[in-house]
């Protein structure tokens, strides 16, 4: 048991660097390097990119474009370079000039990677001399170096691939992906893997090939205690078979998981999601996954080596020891990538396997590669110096100075990305500070016509600004779930959906109900299922195409040629969702009991009908009551039931037992139902608390208008697996309308308002909270629950609608040229129509830019940024420190919205700097996998990040990858104490994952946290450079 626990805990720890991957239905933005957030940003990038084989910063050429566009601050760049140069040994010239010339003018770094050549060889190449004689590496040292680089904590099949070109890793990945697709499928496949309820490893083992089972049997036969076939034991046995020492298991498994980090992240999330339906039915965790991988790896290694290759750590170490030259050449040819002019010679030599010949080629190869590297480096230096006018400097350099220069240039490569990034952020900080206003808003003599609470989402900024410009509107920003964590059960759905940031777990359940009659959903879903099966099974597609293919052709033509008109026509065919009510009030004990009783009675009537084939009218209320009491053990028998149906005692007793066991009319289940019912709704106290917190957190405590709009947001697009990525992150990747409806319903309740009044917030009787949905793809804002609107408000409704419509059109006009350059110059109505077409076009890979280009998170009053156009780049969270003496509201904002904002920001950052590795590549090649993710092509890792169409434009970054620049408007001490008291945010700030600015309105100071210290300056446009340490 102890050993199994050790393996399990080791895998738990090994999986921590792998980020969670949530199902695509509710896309959750996440930081791909979340597991490294305990490290400073630059170190985390270095480690994370090494583990995931990705890139942490943009290529230099992209930063150079930003520099040319003025989006990189040149002084900040120079300052960063100078700081780096101060850490380097002195040179007879100013290295800063050299590096600045390199950064500004040269696309490629001057320093090349030198694996063999040293400064002496480069110096000789520069001078045109013969390379100096070099003492070749000693055999022992070579063997030790090979052992260290090849065998230390690296999956063994990777070593085999790097030494023999066996490509086992690729085959292993493909087989594991197939196994994952089969096991984790959520209804996409018609033929599913059998026995999935037994868990991933066991279910896979049942269908695995004979050679896998033979390998397992062999392992167990040779195990000291007879072996066990549970996944933990299998992992330990395979490690023992490989001869991997226990102290490197952790890093070994981490690397295994990082190979398919999408699948590993999904399985890791799934096994942690106790409420997830599919996990409950078919459990699978990383231990299963690692066991599958390792057993398959061992099988493939044995199959491929055929007993001829060393496939244990010990055997490989011995082989390296015996012939390090051969293994060096093998690593060069199959692993590292050979020195190309000798590539064929190398291959030929290795195939021949003559040791004398290998030794000769080894010496020749190293000499050739060394010379090549030296000449390449010398050429690069010469070319750079000539182009930059630094030829004299290079010409005067002595051998030692050249060595220092090369070391510095190589060291600079590791720091360069961070220097560019900071310079770009300095420019963005400067741009923001130049537009903010610390002046308090002028006092008003009358309340605004309407106030509107929008989600903090960057896409709300444009709409808010335009709404404020078209009328007497005041807007606020709040996390899109409006501070109310809700578990929601939609009308006609049987599962719950969490409408809150994934950091929270909602306690309260809200149910959607309708007074209209039930729709015939069953017919629709049966038809849908039949169509799916016809399309997806093995033979029927051939018949389906012949029989009803033409109908699909009609659909295709309509969607392609006339998307707007065709969709309008199709929508008419579908019955509109009926008006619904949300059950948000808690049930009393009596109400809950009554519901349980009613359900039990209905079940008993149905049971009698089914078991005895009798019409329901024959089951009277008395009989039902008697049966219920008997099933619940409140009475001994059911004499009236026996008499009415002419049964004997035994038959009646058997039926009552079935009622208990099969129909679950028993005490335990009744208690369970009561507990479930207890989750429905919010108590009055909870409702008051949530409304109070929502209003206070945005500083809305007085001056309530006649209309207070609660605007959630969502998106609509066709043929887009990433649709939920465009919805509200604060609502767990769903749209925000339900959250808006819940808060509005609470806030409109007289009893809640009475209690609020007692707490100092007086909402006048004529103020009404109206939920609305902002469709971010079309910019349309639609009001909801208007049937509940008091008659006194109806006369003003047109004005609200007109204001919203005008803002929507202006917003579309502003936004659309970014999507389609030809939309430049469109009038607002034309732009609005184009935006609506985008939402209906099934060939549109980019219906909107989503949260791309996000850069700022501003926590403060609207007046701070009202006069500045932020181009949809800022998360705007309203906050008034004057109503938050205990800093609780600020801490809440930092804990939830800011952390989610940082995840979104980092998701965009890494998807931009390396779209293939951290993003999900082009949407064009995506296929839905298992109904929970996408793959590129028909077999790949789950694509975890954002697609190229979301962050890149024509292959170049559209999103400007920067860390989130966070601004808090509050007195300095107030803000600092709040940050310090939220551990996760303190860590993010101190490790540089967010750039934090505090704007103190009382002292007019602006403070920037940078490099472990606070820099404070009086807010003024010309003080920005001092603030950034320039």
């Amino acid at each position: 048991m102890g050993a199994k626990l050790r393996v399990r805990s080791m895998i738990y720890v090994a999986g921590e660097p792998v980020p969670f991957f949530w199902p695509m239905r509710a896309f959750i933005h996440h930081n791909p390097l979340h597991g490294f957030e305990h490290l400073p940003f630059d170190q985390a990038v270095e480690k994370g990119t090494r583990l995931f084989h990705g890139r942490g910063y943009l290529p230099r050429v992209e930063y150079q474009r930003y520099l040319a566009d003025g989006q990189v601050n040149r002084q900040a760049l120079e300052s960063g370079v100078r700081r780096f140069v101060e850490t380097q040994p002195a040179l007879p010239f100013d290295l800063t000039d050299w590096l600045m010339a390199e950064l500004a003018q040269h696309e490629r770094p001057v320093a090349v990677e030198l694996t063999l050549a040293g400064a002496d060889e480069v110096y000789a190449a520069l001078q045109g001399d013969e390379s100096p004689a070099v003492t070749e590496i000693a055999t022992d040292a070579l063997a030790a170096e090979l052992r260290e680089t090849l065998l230390r904590g690296r999956p063994l099949y990777e070593v085999a691939d790097a030494l023999y070109g066996t490509a086992i890793g690729q085959e292993l990945d493909e087989q594991v992906i197939r196994a994952c697709l089969d096991f984790f499928d959520e209804g996409q496949s018609i033929w599913t893997m059998p026995n999935r309820e037994r868990g991933f490893f066991r279910a896979w083992l049942d269908v695995a090939g004979k050679d896998v089972r033979r390998t397992l049997a062999d392992l167990m036969r040779r195990a000291p205690d007879g072996g066990d076939d549970d996944p933990e034991s299998v992992i330990a046995l395979v490690f023992a078979e490989f001869g991997v020492p226990e102290d490197v298991w952790l890093s070994y498994v981490t690397q295994e998981l990082a190979r398919l980090h999408g699948w590993a992240g999904f399985i890791r999330w799934r096994s942690n999601a106790g409420h997830y339906y599919w996990e409950q039915r078919f459990p699978g965790d990383l231990v299963d996954y690692v066991a599958v991988r390792m057993l398959l790896a061992l099988t493939l290694l044995r199959r491929r080596s055929n007993g001829k290759l060393p496939v244990t750590v010990g055997a490989l170490a011995d082989a390296i020891e015996a012939d390090p030259f051969e293994f060096y050449l093998r690593r060069e040819f199959y692993g590292a990538g050979p020195f190309l002019p000798m590539a064929h010679r190398l291959e030929d030599t290795l195939l021949r396997g003559n040791r004398t010949h290998i030794a000769a080629v080894f010496a020749e190869y190293r000499a050739g590669k060394r010379r090549f590297e030296a000449e390449r480096q010398a050429d690069r230096l010469r070319h750079f110096a000539d182009r930059s006018g630094l030829g004299d400097v290079l010409g005067r350099l002595g051998r030692d100075d050249l060595s220092v220069l090369l070391d510095s240039l190589r060291a600079f490569r590791a720091h360069e990305g961070m220097i560019w990034l900071r310079a770009m952020e300095a420019s963005a900080i400067g741009g923001l500070l130049q537009g903010i206003s610390l002046q308090p808003p002028a006092p008003r003599d009358k309340r605004p016509f309407a106030k509107a609470l929008f989600c903090i989402d960057t896409r709300s900024e444009r709409l808010r600004r335009n709404l404020e410009s078209v009328g007497d509107y005041e807007t606020y920003g709040i996390a899109g779930f409006f501070g109310v964590p809700v578990s929601f059960m939609e009308l006609g759905k049987g599962s719950e959906n969490h409408l809150c940031p994934v950091l929270l777990t909602p306690k309260n359940l809200v149910i959607e109900m309708t007074a209209s009659g039930a729709r015939d959903e069953a017919a629709f879903s049966a038809l849908g299922k039949a169509m799916h099966e016809l399309k997806e099974s093995v033979l029927t597609p051939f018949v389906t195409v012949e029989a009803i293919g033409l109908l699909f052709g009609f659909d295709m033509v309509g969607k392609t040629m006339l998307p707007t008109g065709y969709h309008r026509w199709r929508d008419r065919l579908h019955e509109e969702k009926p008006p619904t009510h949300l059950v948000i009030d808690k049930l009393s004990r009596e109400q809950a009991d009554s519901i349980v009783r009613a359900v039990q009675r209905a079940v008993i009537v149905k049971a009698v009908e089914q078991e005895f084939n009798l019409a329901p009218e024959r089951t009277t209320d008395d009989i039902v009551r008697e049966l219920r009491e008997a099933a619940l053990d409140h009475q001994g028998g059911a004499p009236a039931f026996i008499a009415a149906f002419g049964l004997n005692e035994a038959r009646a007793a058997a039926f009552i037992a079935r009622l208990r066991d099969v129909y679950r009319i028993n005490q335990a289940f009744a208690q369970f139902q009561l507990e479930r019912l207890g989750r429905i709704g919010f108590s009055l106290e909870e409702q008051t608390g949530f409304v109070l917190q929502a209003l206070r957190s945005v500083g809305l405590t007085d001056g309530f208008s006649r209309f207070i709009l609660l605007v959630g947001h969502g998106s609509s697009s066709e043929n887009n697996p990433y649709e939920s990525a465009l919805d509200c992150g604060a609502c767990g990747g769903s749209h925000g309308l339900v959250s808006a409806r819940v808060l509005a319903q609470m806030a409109n309740k007289p009893e809640v308002r009475r209690r609020l009044r007692a707490k100092g917030i007086d909402i006048p009787d004529d103020a009404w909270f109206v939920p609305a949905l902002h469709n971010t793809t079309t910019d349309e804002v639609r009001l909801h629950d208007l049937a509940l609107l008091p008659p006194s408000h109806l006369v003003y409704l047109d004005r609200v609608r007109n204001g919203l419509a005008a803002a929507s059109r202006l917003c579309a006009q502003e936004r659309l040229p970014g999507l389609d350059p030809q939309a430049q110059g469109l009038d607002p109505a034309g732009a609005y129509r184009s935006a609506r077409r985008n939402a209906m076009d099934w060939s549109q890979v980019r219906p909107e830019w989503g949260l791309s280009r996000n850069a700022y998170f501003i926590i403060g009053r609207r007046a701070l940024t009202r006069s500045k156009t932020l181009d949809g780049r800022a998360f705007l969270h309203s906050y008034d420190y004057r109503v938050d003496h205990k800093r609780r509201l600020l801490e809440n904002i930092l804990t939830g919205p800011l952390v989610v904002g940082q995840w979104i920001n980092m998701e965009h950052y890494f998807s931009t700097v390396d779209n293939e590795r951290f993003g999900s590549g082009s949407k064009v090649y995506h296929n839905v996998a298992g109904r929970f993710g996408v793959m590129s092509g028909n077999l790949s890792d789950l694509r975890t990040g954002l697609p190229a169409q979301t962050v890149l434009d024509g292959g170049r970054p559209y999103h400007q990858p920067m860390r989130l620049i966070t601004v808090i408007e509050a007195p300095f001490d107030h803000a600092v104490q709040a940050v310090e008291s939220v551990a996760v945010v303190k860590r993010l700030v101190r490790n540089g994952w967010v750039r934090l600015l505090i704007v103190d309105p009382e002292t007019s100071m602006v403070c920037l946290y940078d490099g472990g210290e606070w820099r404070r300056r009086v807010h003024a446009e010309d003080h920005f450079q001092e603030l950034c340490g320039l």
Binding site: E107, P338, L340, P341, A343, H344, E347
Partner: protein, 252 residues
Amino acid sequence: MTLLGYLVVALFLPLFPISMLFNRLYARVGTLRARVFLLLVWPQLGLLVLAELPGQPPTWVVHWAVVTACFYAFRAVALRDLTLWIAYMATSAWSLLWAMALFAPGDMLLVLQALAFSAPFVLLAWLASRIELLFGAAYAGTCGGLGQTAPRLSVLLVFSILAAVGTPLFPGFFALLATTANLLPVLPGAALVMLTAWFLWAWAGAQMTRGLVVGPAADEPKPDLGLAATLPPGVLLAVLAVAGVTSLGYLT
């Protein structure tokens, strides 16, 4: 004397193992000019001598030739060095000229067919030299991703390989088609081996294309061909395609 003549022809219309001489020579020759010269002249010398020999080549030589073609095509599948690939594929193609010699209505057509076989290899030799200049060697799998970084060069490379492996439109296709059709009733075994060699060419071509054109690009961007450098080989490929289509009537 005739046997000696056939031995000489076997050197230039390569038959295994004498074919090794050509391959060794081609690998040794370092300059592009010399390689182009070899590719154009080598089979012509063979045809010249063959024309002087009395009668038609014996059937055992034809069998030997198609087996040689198959053997080299099979070897080319596993080759990653483009220069060697050219030599092996040329050897494979030229050895089939023995079979074509059985049915060619005139010497000139055979000369043109040999030229049509050689022309794509000449283009490939030029492209290989360009890639060697950029990377140090034209080695599939290690200097891949040319499709992304050098699209013009890649287009020429792909079409040259297609021409070399006897894809429709190019003359090699029609020559092979006609020879197979003629050979099948006379020497069905040899015809099947020849078809196998043809199939292996396609496989070898696909492998080489995959190793050079697709896949991840090199870290350092490499310069593509200019338009002026792309046009002449492009025109030559177009001429080959036209020649292939118009020569169809002669061959069937």
